[in-house]
Every structure is written in structure tokens, then in C-alpha cells.
Symmetry: C3
Subunit: 203 residues, 3 copies
């Protein structure tokens, strides 16, 4: 499963890099600026996870593969935007996939570190939303987490499902996949279907 | 005193969670979004303190009590807002108490780690203002630290008083309380009395 | 070279502190608020570098010199602004020098830690832009990295030149200076000459 997790992390890194590149291009940054924002977005959540859990070296520091994947994903995104129209919602879709992959990766690593369920859900959610939050702050956009549709809730719900399914005896791997697919489907349904949970307002 | 510090930390966590919940509700977030913002606000300052001082595990990772307290405080805040009017300045008051408790907790732990007075004042101030700064950035509000009334100054002044009183021979515990009460009173006087230090402007 | 690096770090700290003080004064903060923003700006990039590379104690924690230098630099900036007109572009120039010094310091320490070239460039760029990004977020300004002229690109290019020159056999020290001067010149040319790389836009 370690090898699989590593691959899923790289996919998460690639889609977050694409989302970062899209956000940076919409802010009119130059090529290296686009690469920097793409990199920070892609490594953000996993770096928060590794630093908080004291896992050194941080995942992209001794292994140059993540940064190589990020640069490739960002360059492909930039090249695509020159040649073909960018599909609607691209940033939201890339962000949703990265959210799902990183939330579950953060949750699984927290589990292995012996964290309680509550801490696991919070650590996974933080890992999932971290990179996008940094991207939104650096590109001066409204944080994705403030959007009215389901966002952090999708991550927390998917991690909760994963923990429950494991406790019910489903295999680690199957529960893990259910978590990822669950978060992505919840989030994409929210984007496309306009789903939202009841919100709270006070003046 | 360790047990007392732990309790004061939990109170700080609870009031910062309430302030985070209020900020998230005023941004119309759904229930899980409110919990995420409340949690990040409440653990923010202490996490910065623990990571910078290399204290692992970070205070909320092995011990699920802080997150449990955060969820309870956030849910009570949400329930209250459904049933009763939210008192004016609630966010500012909760933030002031959290500022006082975390600034002194950060200062005390820096002291124990053998930091100089200057580093202790800075680390305490950072611990006090950290959670609120993250809350304000994530909910796209003007950072509290930019408000014209006394804010970071209250934290730094209270920590300075604590260090001076200790050196003058007052007991650790008494100096610590003077610091907490001093910061809270300074900050609340600023909120209610419109106190402010002279500010600087250049064009 | 260790001693020299230490000195250059202190100069970087001083110019970033001045840039933080200027940003805080333009937001009308009081004196202690100015000192807090100056400190966070000045220690930001190096703290990210030390935490990510697991270098403890973080550079300003056991050694009070950096904070002392910061306070002196911030007070001089404040006093100057009372007595003499602040030269145009002061914040941009101080930021450019800090960017150059910290980008190269981050790159060199990443090199020593055995990082690959790609990781070294990213870590250096992050160290260079980190403090300014925190300053801009806390003072609610548009992040410098979003400016249309060359910014992160200058840092990455200078670090790239340093790595190439070293590989070509130039001495460590000479390559290091070329990197610093290169970044500063590139960035200042961009500020004064309106240089920019082609940017990308998608709707």
C-alpha cells in the first residue's frame, strides 16, 4: 500500500499544481511566478501534514519527484491554455480531486501515527484544504473554504466514512478508496449540483 | 503549575474556538465549515509555538481533549446564536481572552526553553496573535492586528510585565496571573474605551 | 563562510524589518504593532526554511541578535519617517535586497542539506518570498508575488545561476555573490525599468 499511497500523492500533487497554475494565470503571472504558485499549492497540504506530525524529511525535500511532477503538470496546464479552451470549472475540478487525495493521505498518515479519530479527521481535512488555502491567499482570491457549497465538509465526511468502514471490518484499502471517491463525488456534486448544507448567520 | 497551565490552555482554546465560530457564521459557512474554522483558530497560535520550539507531539495531536473542547465550544456558540441574541463585541471579547491566555502560555513555554526576554516576548506575542490572524485570513476579514486600537501591544506589554515582576522576586504563578489579567484588561479597555497608542503614517 | 553567511542573514533581516515597518506604518499601526509586523516579516522566510529543513533551534530562537537587529532597523525606519521624507520605492528596494539575501541563504542551506538542484531552487525561492508574503497578508496588501514585474522569477534565476556557476568550477563564495547581486539587480531593474516576463491569461 505504501507504493500506492505514493502514487496517489503524486496524482494529488499534479492536480493541485494544475489548480495553482490556473489561479496564477488568471492573476496574469509570468511563467516562473506560475511555477512558484503551482508548487506552493501542490506541496502546501502535505507539508503542513509532515511538519505537524514531525515527519522529516518533508515529502518533497529528499525526493525530487514531486517537484518534477509539479513542473510538468504546470507546464502542461500553461501549454493547454495556449492551444485549447480551458474547460469550465477546471480549477474547481482539479481542486476537488486534490482535496480528496490529500485529505485521505493526511488521514491515513495520522492513523498510522496513532492519532485518535477526531485528530485524524482534523489532520486529514487540514491536509486536504491547506494547499488550496495558501493558493487562494497568495493569489488574493476568496478562500475556497468560504464558498457556500460543500468543501471542508466533504473532506471531513469522507474521512469519517473511511474510519467507520474500517471499524466495520472493511479492508484498509477498500475503505481508503471509498473515502477518496466519496470526497470527490460529494465535492463535485456540490460544484455542479449547487448542493450546500444549511449555513449559519449572525449579525 | 503544569496542570493549571493545561487548564488555561483549554480555556484559551475554547474562547478562540468561539471567536472562530462567530467569524465563520458571519461568513455564512455550513456546520462543518464552522467547526473547521473554529478548530484552526483555536489550535493556530499554540501550533506555531510548538513547531517553532520543536515541541512534538504538537499539543492537540496525541491528546484529543483540545479538539473535543473546540467542538463543544463551537457547537455551544452555534446553538446560542439560534436561541439568543449574540452580545455585541462577542468576537472581540473572546479574541481578547484567547489573546491573553495564549500570549502568556507562549511566553512561559519560551521561558522554560531558555529563551532570552526579547525572544520570549516575541514568541508569546506570536502565540497570542497567531490563531486570530489565521482566522481573519481564512474568513477574508481585515486582520485584527491591523485594527487601530491596542492589540499586539497589549500582549507584548503583559508579557513584559510578567518578566519584570518575576525578576523583581514576585512568584512565577502570581506574575503569570498579572500578565494574563493585564493583557485582557488592556485589550478590553482598548475595545470599549477606544484606547489607542500613537500610530505612524507615511505616504 | 559561516560567519559571512551569518552577517548576510542579519543584513537580510534588517532590510526585511525595514520593509515590514514601512508596510505597517502605511497601515497606521502603533509602535508595538510596527515592531511585530517588522519582526514577522524579517524572520518569516528563514523560519520557513529552518522548519522545513528541520533545523532546530530556528535561527532567531537561541540567538537574540536577529530580534535586536530587527528592532533597531524598525526604530530607525520609524525615526527616519518622522524626520526626513521616505525615498520613493523604499519598501520595494528593501524588499528586493531581502529577497536576494534570503533566497541565496535558503539555497545555500538547502545545498548543504544535500537537496537536489530543483529542491534547492524552490527552497531558496520560498525563503526569499516567504517573509514578504506574510507581511503582505498581515497588512492586507496585494502579495508582492502578484505584481506584474519580475519577482519570484528573479530569485529562481539567481539561484539557478549560482548552481550553474558552481558546477562550472567557480568558487562557492564567488558563485554565491553572483547569485545575490544577480537577484537584486534583476529585481531592481524590474522595479525601475518596468521589466516583465510574458504573462499568461485565461478567462
Amino acid at each position: 500500500m505504501t507504493r500506492l499511497l505514493y502514487l496517489l500523492d503524486l496524482i494529488g500533487v499534479a492536480v493541485f499544481a494544475a489548480s495553482g497554475a490556473l489561479a496564477a494565470m488568471s492573476s496574469n503571472l509570468d511563467l516562473l511566478g506560475v511555477l512558484v504558485i503551482a508548487s506552493v499549492t501542490a506541496v502546501g497540504g502535505g507539508t503542513i501534514r509532515d511538519v505537524l506530525l514531525n515527519r522529516h524529511p518533508v515529502f518533497w525535500i529528499q525526493d525530487a519527484t514531486p517537484l518534477t511532477v509539479i513542473i510538468a503538470a504546470a507546464l502542461i496546464t500553461v501549454a493547454w491554455s495556449r492551444l485549447l479552451p480551458i474547460p469550465a470549472h477546471s480549477l474547481l475540478i482539479a481542486d476537488a480531486l486534490g482535496l480528496a487525495l490529500f485529505a485521505m493521505s493526511g488521514a491515513r498518515i495520522a492513523c498510522e501515527a496513532g492519532c485518535s479519530s477526531l485528530v485524524t479527521i482534523f489532520m486529514g481535512t487540514l491536509t486536504g484544504v491547506g494547499g488550496g488555502a495558501i493558493r487562494d491567499v497568495l493569489t488574493a482570491k476568496v478562500p475556497m473554504i468560504l464558498r457556500q457549497d460543500i468543501y471542508a465538509s466533504a473532506a471531513a465526511a469522507g474521512i469519517g466514512a473511511y474510519l467507520i468502514l474500517r471499524r466495520l471490518g472493511l479492508s484498509e484499502r477498500a475503505s481508503f478508496y471509498v473515502g477518496i471517491v466519496g470526497i470527490a463525488v460529494l465535492r463535485l456534486s456540490a460544484v455542479y449540483g449547487g448542493w450546500q448544507l444549511p449555513s449559519f448567520r449572525y449579525e
